[in-house]
């Protein structure tokens, strides 16, 4: 179960630029780190992420171990109607994560 926090402005006007920020709780294991027992920790990073706004994709990213642990992303989108922002991501263990929030267009 992955946790994420999405930050949006409280509300937006139609046609306005909206800054979207998300932080996902994920170790983004590089595969080079060793645990306390000296065992190599297997690589496990989020490699794909997408964001849909009212069902239409507005942002997509392919990530790697070059992104810091607990990946943070900031991007923009243009406000249309009020609606849901749906995030989806997938890591090397084939574990999916989702997060959702609502964009209120005044």
């Amino acid at each position: 179960m992955a946790l994420a926090r999405i930050q949006l402005p409280k509300d937006a006007k139609r046609g306005e630029l909206v800054e979207v920020r998300i932080v996902i709780q994920h170790p983004m294991e590089t595969g080079f780190r060793r645990d306390a027992g000296g065992e190599r920790v297997a690589r496990n990073a989020i490699h794909s992420l997408a964001c849909r706004y009212n069902g239409a994709e507005v942002f997509r990213a392919t990530l790697s171990t070059g992104i810091a642990a607990n990946p943070y992303l900031r991007f923009f989108l243009r406000a249309g109607e009020s609606g849901d922002l749906d995030f989806w991501w997938l890591d090397d263990d084939e574990k999916e994560g989702t997060a959702k929030t609502r964009l209120v267009v005044a």
């Binding site: 590089t30 990213a61 070059g66 992104i67 642990a69 990946p71 943070y72 900031r74 989108l77």
Partner: protein, 147 residues
């Protein structure tokens, strides 16, 4: 040409020429760059990659990349690729944008395995590629603990 003149020429003229030259920031023989651009030229400009000059450690470094371009249906930024010089995984991230993005700007935090140059390559809707490169000094690399 006298030797002194020649040296002056190489010091002044050649770097100025390199500024506007295609592929100034990228290697045309780098397989990773070729995979991104399909062999097309990468021009310097339009892209602004913002990184601190020095990072105390490479575990988490704030990064912003901006591309100077309209974001309309007719003309927009399709993708921004981040390429590392020295990370074990050199293809750090690719961000896919579109007209709905409104502004071609993405921020994140990156992980760096030591002092190196980071290159951002933007792919525009007209098929052209633009780039910026930033050198960053990393005092402690992210991959040092346990190899």
């Amino acid at each position: 040409m006298k030797r002194r003149d020649f040296l002056g020429f190489t010091l002044v003229i050649l770097p100025v020429q390199a500024l506007g030259q295609a592929n100034a920031h990228v290697s045309t023989t780098d397989p990773l760059v070729v995979a991104i651009t399909k062999g097309k030229d990468v021009l310097p400009g339009k892209v602004k990659l913002e990184l601190p000059a020095v990072a105390v450690n490479g575990h988490s470094v704030a990064m912003t990349v901006k591309v100077e371009s309209p974001m309309s249906a007719a003309q927009y930024v399709r993708a921004v690729h981040l390429v590392s010089e020295k990370n074990p995984v050199r293809e750090m991230a690719t961000f896919y944008l579109g007209p709905h993005s409104g502004r071609a700007e993405v921020g994140s935090r990156i992980r760096l395995n030591g002092t190196q140059r980071i290159t951002a390559i933007a792919e525009l809707s007209d098929g052209s590629f633009w780039s910026d490169q930033v050198a960053i000094e990393v005092r402690e690399a992210a991959c040092t603990d346990g190899g």
